[in-house]
């Protein structure tokens, strides 16, 4: 156990010895300092992941055990550079630490993790946290990397300077975790002795705001002081739901001081930040010993190639190609397996239950609907794994750095690149990966356009239509590939076009900043990446599961009722069901696109998932064993006619149908995820409307232009 400096003041922080409740720790640190690795090392699989109510910021809570086997709760707060929040993530960290959140009690004790290789900037957050007057344990992580970089941090000296326990640690390989748990088990933890003089010109304002926060907001003196300092640093601009608002009097006092200083031309925020860095500079000089200037590090050498004018692009292209290759090749086997299992389960239920609606509801509604989503789980898992790997190694930040200029053309920043790119495989991980985008509007724009990137569920539809479009078995490969590329290009242009439009109209905002740390390259923490992948996938299943199940059952009901007379073929049943009738109702709307009511049924049923279109077409046109590559379905499609005898699936219609699928929002899983990620039904509904509207208009233009040109 690391001893505290002897002259430390002992605080009897709640809960003291004999208290019934175990202490609640908050884990705080800068991004990229190994915080999640430490959290995993402390809590193992004993974690609960949820959301802070009203905000789409992840709430992670875990349990670890003290020396005496007592459980200790650890809340993993989102990474932050400062408590003067600039993003919803940082706002949550600030609000929890200040006890501002209605859903999360103020933690008893704080674990601050810092990157030993980058002490000064990391200590800035620690310095703000010491103001809170809670017992703090400082975890010096990445001591091994610091030693490699020629930086020696004198732990005992730092402990003495700050007057709090400082634990040297290498979270990646578990070194220091036992010492940390011992420190956490202490019944009494010292409060920091670090005295920091608030700059004289600002002190009266701090006192004034502190008084107001105590009188009107009911804060304790120390918290009020800390909060006053934050209000003066960044004007408290980022507010999130679930946080208690400030009293009007406090706002008034704040505005008063700001106006006065503005008139005097005083840089109050700068003065505060400067004085903190001055204090930190003194400590850092005292505790770090540098072994002279070292040459370029391995990370610098990698970057010289990875962000190079030419090789940077090649590496980015290679990484992305590898990503897609592995998604499509590695996912194939498990996807076939799941497909087989789902079919087997469905057959088993069919064998077990007597004929009837209940059986059909279970097999054709629930199992088929949920199975249609689960089949994409391997792709989603692999994608989450890759995104985690890119984040963990530090390459993600480089990709954002390289792509930022291009993304800025449509008003986004480089951080939107990976989410959009992932959406080529599946929009769900893409949308869930937008959490790294700090600006709420940019994040929303990225979410809104992500499903326009052609995902893998569109492939079966494209393939079927291409097969019908270019009859004959000796289709030149390049024609197929050419059409396919055209669809991908169309979706991509659509995504960027709409991003540009939304940033100028609906979600107007300042051009996003690109103030981003480029962390050194690190070997990936595979265990953490794996954890992260499972956690994400589980979140998706849990959050989207009920919505997917519900809509699948509704869609089943639409195609199963009302019942056709006994002995009717599935085709006849479909024709006279509600879905079939809806197809007829829809026909006037889709006829200008060259679609009849039977295609209408396909459009309705594939609202659940795009690939359902293929199986629905199989039922509607009565082709056995339908699948996008089988000849019977293609033949059936080519034989389909309008009542007046004209061929239904002309090349132009096939082409138009593909274009419809490029733009239309036909995926309930995405709807469910967007609902969860935006915390309202407004955005997913808007997304359905704008995408489907665009699909209709573009299809209309293409079909009518094609007709006019004589196709």
């Amino acid at each position: 156990m690391t001893p505290a400096a002897p002259h430390v003041i002992r605080s009897h922080a709640r809960p003291g010895p004999g208290s019934a409740r175990s202490p609640v720790y908050a884990l705080v640190g800068n991004p990229n300092c190994g915080k999640s690795t430490l959290f995993n090392a402390l809590t193992g699989l004993k974690q609960k992941v949820g959301n802070y109510p009203g905000v789409t910021v992840e709430k992670k809570v875990g349990t670890t055990y003290s020396q005496h086997g007592q459980p200790m709760v650890v809340i993993d707060l989102p990474g932050a550079y400062s408590l003067a929040a600039r993003s919803p993530d940082e706002a949550v960290t600030r609000d929890v630490l200040l006890g501002r959140r209605v859903d999360t009690a103020q933690p008893d004790r704080i674990l601050c993790i810092v990157d030993a290789t980058n002490l000064e900037r990391n200590l800035y957050l620690v310095h703000q946290i010491l103001d809170l007057g809670r017992p703090v344990i400082l975890v010096l992580n990445m001591m091994d990397l610091a030693a490699e970089a020629g930086i020696n941090v004198r732990v005992a000296r730092l402990e003495h300077e700050l007057g709090i326990p400082v634990i040297a640690c290498e979270a990646v390989n578990g070194k220091g975790i036992i010492d940390l748990k011992l420190a956490m088990s202490r019944a009494d933890l010292p409060l920091s002795r670090h005295a920091w003089d608030i700059p004289a010109p600002i002190a009266p304002a701090v006192a004034d705001l502190q008084a107001s926060l105590i009188a009107h907001d009911g804060k304790s003196p120390l918290i009020a002081r800390a909060e006053a300092l934050l209000l003066l640093t960044d004007q408290d601009t980022v507010r999130v739901a679930g946080s208690t608002p400030l009293h009007a009097r406090t706002h008034e006092a704040l505005r008063g001081w700001q106006q006065r200083w503005e008139a005097e031309g005083m840089d109050w925020a700068g003065t505060l930040v400067n004085s903190r860095y001055e204090a930190i500079g003194l400590i850092a000089a005292e505790v770090t010993v540098r072994a002279g200037e070292t040459g370029p590090t391995l990370s610098d050498k990698i970057d010289a190639i990875a962000t190079h004018r030419i090789s940077g692009w090649l590496i980015l292209a290679a990484v992305m190609t590898l990503l897609f290759l592995s998604i499509f090749t590695l996912a194939e086997l498990p996807m076939n397996f799941i497909d087989g299992r789902v079919a087997a389960l469905s057959d088993w239920v069919k064998a077990m239950l007597p004929d009837g609606d209940l059986r059909d509801l279970i097999t054709d509604g629930a199992i088929a609907g949920v199975g249609g989503v689960i089949i994409f789980l391997p792709q989603i898992l692999i994608l989450f794994f890759f995104i985690g790997l890119l984040e963990s190694t530090g390459y993600m930040a480089r990709a954002a750095f390289i792509m930022d200029r291009l993304m800025s053309r449509v008003g986004l920043n480089g951080k939107s690149f990976i989410p959009l790119l992932s959406s080529y495989a599946c929009a769900i991980p893409g949308i869930m990966a937008t959490r790294t985008i700090e600006d709420q509007k940019d994040r929303l724009v990225t979410i809104l356009v992500a499903p326009l990137m052609s995902c893998s569920a569109r492939l079966p539809v494209y393939l079927l239509m291409i097969a019908a479009l270019v009859p004959g078995d000796r289709v030149p490969l390049f024609t197929k590939v050419g059409i396919m590329l055209l669809m991908y290009a169309l979706g991509t242009c659509g995504a960027f076009g709409f991003a540009w439009l939304f940033k100028r109209t609906l979600l107007k905002g300042a051009p996003p900043l690109m103030i981003m740390e480029l962390p050194p390259y690190r070997l990936p923490a595979v265990r953490d990446v794996f954890f992260h992948m499972l956690e994400r996938a589980w979140l998706f299943i849990r959050r989207a599961g009920t919505i997917i199940l519900g809509i699948s059952i509704i869609l089943w009901f639409l195609s199963a009722y009302p019942k056709a007379p006994p002995g009717a073929t599935p085709q006849q049943q479909m024709a006279q069901s509600l879905a079939g009738r809806a197809g007829h109702v829809l026909e006037p709307v889709i006829k200008p696109l060259g679609f009849d009511w039977q295609i209408g049924i396909g459009l309705i049923s594939s609202f659940a998932a795009r690939e359902v279109f293929v199986s629905t077409m199989g039922v509607v046109f009565n082709a056995e064993n339908s699948d996008e590559n089988t000849a019977p379905l293609r033949q059936a499609l080519l034989a389909a006619k309008w009542p007046d005898g004209r061929a239904l699936f002309t090349p132009l219609v096939c082409f138009t149908l593909m274009i419809f699928y490029v733009f239309a929002m036909q995926c309930i899983s995405t709807v469910a995820v967007v609902r969860r990620e935006t915390n309202s039904w407004k955005w997913p509904l808007f997304q359905i409307a704008y995408m489907t509207g665009t699909a209709w208009i573009v299809s209309l233009l293409v079909y009518q232009a094609g007709r006019a040109l004589g196709y």
């Binding site: 700068g270 004018r309 930040a397 750095f401 930022d404 103030i515 740390e517 480029l518």
Partner: protein, 79 residues
């Protein structure tokens, strides 16, 4: 001179930049202060954003922000 005009590989000391604006408060909090030595590491392949090194770590910022950061080239580069 402006930080955006610094040559790749050159070292300079920050003199001043605007007081207000979220970007500049955040740059300060990230440790970019008057008197801080910075090194321009590189520009992104398309010329923007820029990568700088300060206080032993690497940070990116766009030229539109770097234009407002005034620096003074230090004859004795502290690296």
């Amino acid at each position: 001179m402006k930080l955006s005009e610094l040559a790749v590989g050159a070292t300079a000391v920050v003199r001043s930049f605007p007081k207000t604006g979220g970007a500049f408060v955040r740059l300060r909090e990230m440790g970019l202060l008057a008197g801080t030595p910075v090194k321009l590491i590189r520009a992104a392949p398309l010329g923007d954003p820029l990568e700088i090194k300060l206080r032993g770590y690497h940070l990116t910022l766009r030229k539109s922000e770097a234009e407002h950061v005034l620096v003074e080239v230090d004859p004795i580069s502290p690296g």
